[in-house]
């Protein structure tokens, strides 16, 4: 890191470089998903128009929507829209709500189709709330277990961290979700499980998600705390007369938090995968449920929109993670 004005220049350079790389990544992702969806067999128009629609109607709709053009032409047209902030319209969902995939092809009562952007913007806050709560739960468990494990390598706190990590990572999230719903919701009646009618409905899904995240946090914390405690600056700090508590809290933990942050960036996609499954089990109205439904209904514009938004989120989160990591540990240069 540089001092004063140099630091600002460094930050600006860093942001420009990383954002440029990010744009390329998002572009590649969109192209990949776009091509895959069109190469793979399965005609979405058939689903949109209803099974009974005659072939000429299907061809007509496909023609109107430009789905019979060459893939590169379609892609350029699509990206043109994306650059103007237009993610297109859902194939299937009407603006009013429920899906109409099965409706008859000549049904004129069918309303305007929903904007992909609106669908994502409506569901994203729910997912964010779920993810943040899950992260909080995971940290509450992982911080004490992981730090203790790292401070006593080879002793029982270390074993506890190992066993707890192995146990949590071996619980398939969908199975755990079902079992917890059965025990906590059906049998004991402590927590509501299905749907969303208030904050309480976030708790159970968040617990399941936290169990999935916690092992990674525990493992990363144990390893990095143990590594930091072996470093010279820790033993020197003790000679300098700094108390043990302060050494652990202010010095070792501060440096051990860098790998934890990086983990957050790398494991973002895993978190999203977990969100998908958990939202599906608990019928939680977030981005994950939207994604699964979009896939099952072959709603191409929606799948593409979600892929673009998630890869953009991935890029942004990784930039933030690296920025924060540099401020914590100035030796890191990105």
């Amino acid at each position: 890191m540089h001092v004063g004005g140099g630091f600002i220049v460094f930050i600006v350079n860093f942001l420009i470089r990383r954002l440029a790389q990010g744009v390329i990544i998002v572009f590649l992702v969109s192209f990949l998903i776009f091509t895959l969806l069109r190469v793979i067999p399965g005609d979405p128009v058939r689903l949109m128009a209803g099974g009974m629609a005659p072939d000429h109607v299907i061809d007509q709709i496909a023609e109107d929507m430009g789905l019979r053009d060459p893939i590169p032409v379609q892609f350029v047209r699509y990206m043109g829209g994306v650059l103007q902030g237009d993610l297109g319209q859902s194939f299937i969902r009407p603006a009013s709500g429920a899906a109409v995939g099965g409706a008859s092809f000549d049904d004129n009562t069918r309303s305007e189709r929903a904007e992909v952007f609106d669908l994502i913007a409506d569901t994203a806050p729910f997912t964010l709330q779920l993810a943040l709560l899950a992260m909080a739960f995971a940290l509450i468990v992982a911080l004490p277990v992981g730090i203790y494990g790292g401070l006593r390598p080879g002793k029982w706190p270390d074993r506890l961290a190992l066993y707890m990590g192995s146990l949590f990572i071996s619980l398939p999230n969908f199975w755990l979700g079902i079992v917890l719903a059965l025990v906590l919701s059906v049998n004991l009646g402590w927590l509501p499980a299905i749907g969303y009618q208030g904050f309480a409905y976030t708790i159970l899904p968040a617990i399941v998600l936290a169990v999935e995240i916690a092992p990674f946090l525990i493992r990363s914390l144990t390893v990095s705390v143990a590594q930091n405690m072996r470093e010279n600056y820790i033993s020197v700090a003790a000679i300098r007369g700094i108390g043990h508590r302060r050494i652990v809290m202010a010095h070792a933990l501060k440096n051990a938090s860098v790998p934890l942050l990086n983990l957050l960036g790398v494991q973002f996609s895993m978190l999203l995968g977990g969100v998908l499954v958990v939202e599906f089990i608990f019928d939680y109205p977030g981005l994950g449920l939207l994604t699964i439904n979009a896939v099952l209904q072959r709603d191409f514009p929606l799948i593409q929109g979600i892929a673009i938004v998630t890869s953009a989120a991935f890029v942004v989160i990784n930039i933030i993670v690296d920025l924060v990591a540099t401020t914590i540990d100035p030796r890191l240069e990105y």
Binding site: I24, I25, V29, L36, L37, S170, L171, W175, A181, L296
Partner: protein, 305 residues
Amino acid sequence: MTNISNIDIPAVDNVQALTIAQRVVLGAWRSYEFRVGFFVFSAMVLLAIFWPMISSIDPLKINIRAKLMPPAFMGEGWSWTHPMGTDQLGRDMLMRSLVGLRYSLLIGLTTVVVMLAVGALVGLLAGYRGGLTDTILMRITDAQLSIPMIILAIAILGVARPTIPAIILVLGLSGWPVYARVMRSVVMAERKREFVRGATILGASDLRIMFLLLLPICLPPIAFVAVLDIARMMIFESVLGFLGLGVQPPTPTFGNIIADGRKYLVNAWWIATVPGIFLFLTLISLNLMGAALERSRNRVHGGEA
């Protein structure tokens, strides 16, 4: 990776005679977790392989008269014919779970082999060649890392037909980037060392150096950690099955049995629970072995991850 020969190893003569891989396995074997995991895992694998051969029960045979029987000692109407109970169509839960375990293991193992092969190749090429090859390969890797793997998997399997090879290919192809990254960094470190330069001077071709010199050194430390990924892939396979995007019924898999059992959760809790327990036992044994191997590898390689 540090120079192995420079690490201070307690001077026991026969230790030096072992290869690094053997030392890692031996080190893991000494830990209690590894042995427990190994025995549980072996028991599960043997059961999954041999029980369906020995037993005369057909996992697909419907017997309505014997439907919804609870597991042994767990309520009224159980019998030794079906020690784990039966499902809503009177099919034996033990047999269905074991057949599910077969598919799960098959798909988990093959997927990790595909992941490892693709990842190691990309990483080897990128790390050894460097320059433009490296940049292009790594940008592709980054792009793929930024697509949540499960979205990719369900997008492909949801739109195409989920057959077993398709599942293996999709999971394998979406999981390789991490291996590519690790492999690349290891290869980049090794490539600058003496023996590679020596081989180059002696006229060894690039292919020879990559596959005969670098690969045997760089692959084992990565392959040990891949044990953990077998467990991860088995979870993915069951998630896909649960979403209806895995191996299709009537073939029983953990995912589709549990998805079925969810409907009968209140009256017949065992339909969803029994396969879950089999899956959990297999996963935890794999994870214990994987964790022990990883720790042992880190010790052998001087604490480097």
